[in-house]
Symmetry: C2
Subunit: 517 residues, 2 copies
């Protein structure tokens, strides 16, 4: 034992959490007189607080689709449940989600004559995921998505108005909420959670998990009254979780440092479509307590976002309907550089490789035909979409070489006439026409971070796995904080199904754990 360790007793808790290394996160604090050298043996990891400030059977971290579903199921299983949210409002990304819930074999599909099955959804997920998906997790989502959707209808009272299509799915299976927003589900989850007695704590940030000597998670240190993103705010408190902790803390699209470790291209020059709280500290806290991470480098970029808008914005709704009808060019050269109908990843990679925003453009025929009016109006009003009387004006506005650009448009027009792009192999749709009709519309494109496929390793019971790939007792996770469900690529509309399916599983299983105290 080194006696100087004893002197560190007075180091503040906040300070030692900044110390380097996973194991170091528990360093620096020891009460006088504790023997740290124990024969030829090894001792426990975290010493526990003398007094816990609060005690619950189950503690859930995160108030999105997954966390709330978990909290509701745990409470309904008859145990005490607290739900922590670091932000001042609930809902995370779920509340700004587009409100499409993927489920196969539903009533709405039957009404629309759509034949579908869990097996077909599973196959679509695996193909999109490049077969990196953990098969048993993808299957769990596919098999339980219909039941999860019906639970939100019958138990929460959510309403779905129509069936939407997302790229990569074999059929229409995205059930759009009546307000076409995830808020329809997450708000009703919150109302139900409150109604049945889940203790909701906003502005409460997880700082560190606490494990007993067997590695079992027994509680956590939190900051109460936390004011995001200022880590100097909030008051430390210890919360005991008698049965389990459930992480439903979301992805890390807004965590520049973390995402750069896994994909170094994703510097602070890239924004995110996510809510600002989509940072990875809860995920990393789990890793520091022995949880294994997987596929963290599969980070989905949206190639259709504007650097002139915050978050998702209007430009994606302008760009996406225009591909196959208009041109995407590099303003440095005035020339096209990648097929406009390439997939998300291909296009985002190509724009990043340019090193500068691309420009997407269309003429009046294409824009009026393809772009929904409110998106065009919104983008024109905030300046992210621009309108020009001539191609010359457009080129000059983006500092493009005018002649090279006009030559490129003429070339594109020859492709549009014969419906075949000899240069880059873009699909040109049947009703596309040459780009000739003024006024012309354009917007700059620069990728934003949209979804993090990777995260904690879980099994189909939503138990988090350690680095020996056995469950860590007392720790569950669901939703974007987990990895493996989607493999390399998450299909649109599967996020809601994933979160509700695994949130419910986590809640039920956490409530069944044997209490440790």
């Amino acid at each position: 034992m080194k006696e100087d360790d004893v002197e560190k007793k007075s180091i503040s808790r906040r300070n030692f959490l900044k110390t380097a290394g996973g194991a170091a996160a528990v360093a620096g604090l020891a009460s006088s007189g504790i023997p740290l050298m124990v024969g030829d043996a090894q001792a426990a990891c975290d010493a526990l607080p003398k007094k816990w400030d609060e005690t619950y059977d189950v503690v859930v971290v995160g108030s999105g689709f997954a966390g709330l579903a978990a909290a509701i199921e745990a409470k309904n299983a008859g145990v005490s449940v607290a739900l922590l949210e670091k932000m001042p409002v609930h809902g995370g990304n779920s509340v700004i989600n587009g409100g499409d819930f993927c489920a196969p074999g539903t009533k709405l599909q039957k009404e629309n004559g759509v034949e579908d099955s869990a097996e077909l959804l599973y196959k679509d997920m695996m193909r999109a995921g490049m077969y990196l998906n953990h098969p048993e997790l993808a299957r769990t989502v596919a098999d339980n998505a219909k039941d999860a959707l019906e639970w939100t209808e019958s138990y929460l009272g959510c309403k779905y108005a129509k069936l939407n299509f997302h790229g990569g799915h074999s059929v229409k299976r995205a059930h759009g909420t009546i307000n076409q927003s995830g808020s329809e589900v997450v708000n009703k989850e919150l109302a139900k959670a409150k109604e049945i007695g889940v203790q909701i704590m906003l502005r409460t940030k997880l700082v560190k998990f606490l494990s007993d000597k067997n590695g079992r998670i027994v509680g956590m240190e939190v900051l109460k009254g936390y004011r995001f993103p200022d880590d100097k705010t909030g008051k430390s408190a210890f919360i005991k979780a008698r049965k389990a902790v459930i992480l439903g803390s979301g992805g890390f699209s807004y965590d520049v440092a973390l995402r750069q470790v896994h994909d170094p291209r994703l510097t602070d020059k890239l924004g995110s479509t996510n809510h600002p709280g989509a940072t990875g500290e809860a995920l990393l806290a789990a890793c520091k307590s022995g949880a294994a991470d997987v596929q963290m480098d599969w980070i989905q970029l949206g190639p259709w976002t504007s650097p002139e808008e915050k978050g998702f914005g209007y430009v994606p709704l302008f760009c996406e309907p225009l591909v196959g009808y208009g041109l995407m060019v590099n303003p440095k050269t005035g020339k096209r550089f990648f097929k406009e109908t390439g997939n998300r990843k291909e296009r985002a990679d190509a724009i990043l490789l340019l090193g500068n925003p691309a420009v997407i453009m269309g003429d009046s025929y294409a824009v009026n035909k393809q772009v929904v009016p409110h998106a065009l109006k919104g983008g024109l009003e905030n300046g992210a979409i621009k309108k020009f009387d001539s191609l010359d004006d457009l080129a000059r506005a983006y500092d493009m070489p005018v002649d090279a650009f006009k030559e490129q448009v003429a070339r594109w027009n020859s492709f549009a006439e014969k419906r075949k792009d000899d240069d880059l192999g873009c699909m040109i749709f049947k009703d596309a026409k040459p780009t000739v009709e003024a006024p012309f519309y354009a917007a700059r494109l620069w990728p934003k971070v949209h979804h993090t496929m990777g995260g904690l390793v879980i099994n189909k019971d939503a138990q988090v796995m350690g680095f020996d790939f056995k469950p860590i007792k007392g720790l569950y996770a669901a939703g974007e904080v987990t990895g493996g469900v989607h493999g390399a690529v998450r299909l649109g509309s599967v996020a809601m199904a994933d979160c509700i399916v695994f949130g419910r599983i986590a809640g039920k299983n956490a409530a069944r754990e044997k209490a440790w105290s």
Copy 2:
């Protein structure tokens, strides 16, 4: 404090290492009377042994290119060094490596009129790595490869005979050893290490790192007299590392469980080109002690291996020269299914998707022209390559639909005549001819795991980073156990450069650490 913990004192060390969870790896053992609840504070992670069995300044794990380079540099810096190797022989994958050492701007390149630079190598590495490489690590390899090569020549006495080319490099920069094997380098490293007094311990397996209360790595538990792969063999011992531990333990291509977590397709139906000791337990031991992992899901497959040979075998030397001259078909249908000249990843993915081995074939013209005689002879002798008098015989031998196969060969022959593959876009080389000349040769292809790009996060000083992405004091790593150098794809011949460059950096820096005891 829970008194029942005390009762676990008698649990054997071997048993508790099998317990679930990262933190749980330190669980189950505690001497009676240790207070585990320490005020409102948290205590240390690992208690240290009362008595260390051995003490060195620097302890290196692994006896390949990287580990030996590290050991030599540390010893030459004037500190005591032990090097552990779990296998009964030294060298790991390095000793079966093909012996090509990538370096830019060398004397041999100048003699051959090759213009090259570190900058050009860096760009090639980044492009191949799909820009997922940690740029400062790729640059460190590119900038120091020439010096590392010259060190093996001038200090170790290694000899390089000729300049080879590997796909993805802009120029010839692979320096082939005189025996065209990595053994030329690793054997001379071993001889030098012994000569200067490095303590080499074979059959010594790392079981667990030991950290002090600040997360600093202070030593390890090992099994001495270990007989791979039997974890019931060997005797436990504690080795103190006064300055640092250096991991040069290689990749995990042969670790079926670990690779399946990161890429679930890589079941035990896939072999590996690696030596059997290429398992990931040392990497995971580091993660359990707080080290962060990165890009573990980028696992390179060789699409050119035979299920009828062990390891690398002869078939890759048969298959690769034949692409662009012969056909690759699915024996279930008798038809081609993917362009033969696709890259490693594309072809391996396509064969895995078939779910059964493919067949590569060529006629006498192609095989005699393209395949080196010793490979053909070796493959024919061990039965992995087969010779047939007719296409009918060939088809029947692989249970192929004969007519469909012969129709496919006829179709390929029409492409070969016009040098254009209308079906799959395979490149057909200028001197290719229709496949008509008996006898015909064929071999089955089934991917094998070849290289694991991911591993521990390091910085350019070879320090291993924790999950807060700050260095873990006393822990270094180099070579395939690290991640980030190569990003998504490692180029051929860069492994030796990576290992020697970062091995030397790790050794020098480890020797400079302040001793903790």
